[in-house]
Symmetry: C3
Subunit: 277 residues, 3 copies
């Protein structure tokens, strides 16, 4: 990480205002758009198969988020991903609920199979579903408790690296401890706040933010994902620190966007809790 400062990754986003095409769920889509704007990017949403190729063509990157997927949006994801691949745009996959339904698991597996996914942003359960679903046999057993902890950190990091090796993607598995990995190395990030789990969309927003970082830092994808995840974690810490006794998840959601908006490179460097594993 010495050759590439986290600050640089954020500065590159702010300097280039990456345009990101998002095919995403209707639950958190507004927060996703505002998170992209907060971080200095620019969002476009479109899921109609007849619209997505044009939209992807004018963007720099693509988010595929399978929450509230439907037949039309799945078709839209394939059309958009195919076009994005032709244009060498980074594609970020968020396999929301993979493992929770057959349609979600299969859709995520197919997208991963057919297109050069640059980044997978998921929680550990979804990541495990992906690892199983993409292989011909179920290579990874889902643990009763999937959370990454200090106790299972080495083993979790090995899994993240193996998923990266299997898929060719940079893998960002987020939770109380976040793991960022490619096939060769992995980082643990200990930023964030438990309140992030009390709003809907913290993961979805991060996925979109990762896409903006990916577009702006194409040649340093692993480091850029570390910066994106640290930045969201710090924003969560700042938002939680701002809460009064009357505040709850409503205010936290607002404060989280505010913190992303005000995040700068110095804060990012100073607050980062990154460990190379």
């Amino acid at each position: 990480m010495k050759e590439f400062a986290l600050k640089t990754a954020l500065d590159n986003v702010r300097a280039t205002c990456p345009l990101v095409h998002n095919i995403t769920n209707y639950v958190t889509v507004n927060d996703c758009a505002n998170a992209l704007l907060a971080i200095g990017g620019s969002p476009i949403m479109s899921d109609e198969p007849k619209d997505v190729a044009d939209i992807t063509s004018i963007c720099g990157g693509l988010v595929l988020n399978i929450g509230t997927l439907n037949k039309r949006s799945i078709k839209g994801m394939h059309v958009a991903a195919s076009r994005a691949a032709e244009l060498s745009h980074p594609i970020v996959l968020d396999p929301v609920g993979a493992g929770a339904s057959t349609l979600r698991t299969q859709t995520a597996a197919e997208l991963l199979d057919k297109y050069p996914i640059a980044v997978i942003r998921a929680n550990m359960s979804e990541a495990k579903a992906l690892a199983g679903g993409a292989a011909t046999t179920r290579g990874v057993d889902v643990c009763p408790d999937d959370a990454v902890t200090e106790d299972n950190l080495a083993e979790s990091a090995a899994f993240a690296r193996s998923l990266a090796a299997q898929t060719g993607a940079v893998v960002a598995i987020t939770g109380a401890i976040d793991l960022i990995a490619n096939a060769e190395c992995a980082y643990a990030i200990r930023n964030g706040s438990p309140v992030m789990g009390k709003i809907t969309g913290a993961g979805c927003m991060l996925t979109c933010v990762c896409a903006a970082y990916a577009v702006a830092n194409k040649d340093s994808l692993l480091e850029a994902m570390v910066a994106a995840v640290v930045g969201m974690g710090l924003a969560g810490e700042m938002a939680a620190a701002r809460m009064t006794p009357q505040d709850g998840n409503g205010s936290f959601r607002t404060y989280l966007l505010d913190a992303l908006y005000n995040l700068n490179g110095d804060t990012l460097e100073a607050g980062a809790k990154v460990e190379e594993l």
Copy 2:
């Protein structure tokens, strides 16, 4: 109500974190998800017919909200409700706009007809449309002014009980005065704030909150609905009390989620304005 404290109903939600499957409109869906998280539940949204049976199977209850309904989501509601019925999950129906369009009135009537709806959460106009639509003849004339008032309270309560008897559901008709009824008895609740009508989604959020209470309090459904409606009303009062002269419906919406988040059993008991009719 003596045998069952309102506090217990909320404590049961907080203790069990009920997972609720929501098929709902895209207008207020984000607030619905955050309201469920605020009250201590956990939301999943899915409306694709090929996805909903799997998703419902891992949840404890189901919300059917017909706002922004479409052919696909209607089919999804039937598939999900059928599965939820097999699993004896409580189903909460929110007939948004029943009476305003033929499609909405018919869809609500069909869902009510085919599945064992546990709770109907509606305003009085929608409830009257349901009563008419479900019967072979139009048994209830829609009043020019449907609002429940002190003047028409006895008659409104009688209607709520008769709709409960007709459908087998606990009926929660909300407005300036809320009515909760089963076939045998009815309660009037006088909590709440007029500002709740100046945001979109107060009703939709309440419906989802009702589902969480229903999952966590299956054997005391009537009392649980009283607790849920009192809790939302109190949250509205707390949110309104927090408003400054510069605040409007934007801040109120945030404060409402915050108040749900911070609501506890003691506040619920102390603030409840419940009258058995």
Copy 3:
């Protein structure tokens, strides 16, 4: 403008609570609904072709916003617009992303062609795409930089007037400087804040607000659009003035709704920066 005070336009909205049917995108739909409520109107959302004619019939006006359009919602727009035209309801078109994709450009052009659109609310790029798309030949070249500036103001106003003449609609082109025009005259409005561009949906919200003003001020459409755009600009100024160093686009979005909610006729008159061109 002397015969018609801006104040009157807003007072008419507050006094009549116009019911607006919105077929709009799922990104900003919640903010659109809350903006309509804030200004004193009442929102209904419906895009299912089988539902929209009934819903439009009980409303006073219709919004067609083509962001996140799909085959079903496009069909819904045609059915709704056809019914709204029969009922002489004002239709407000927001051609989100016209020029960015063939489907969006064509859909906007078709809607403009087939129905008596009362108001077009767009940014300059979209307006130029409409002007080109509606003509048989490409009559307007899209400038590399479409922004309305003091330098190109006269020429931009001439374009706005010509689009109004071409379409029969009142044209509201918004940006750092807003232009409101019919075929005969044009106004420049210099209210607003740059932070409005850092949230998603400021334009979509304004479109819905314009529809409420149009319903309540049918006989003074041009003046009503000036009032609507001034009001949104002032709300942006008030929201920006309220921001603390910790605040970002999350809080700004909340403050913008709050400011719309608290806007009154006197503030509108006192703060308006309107120039007849």
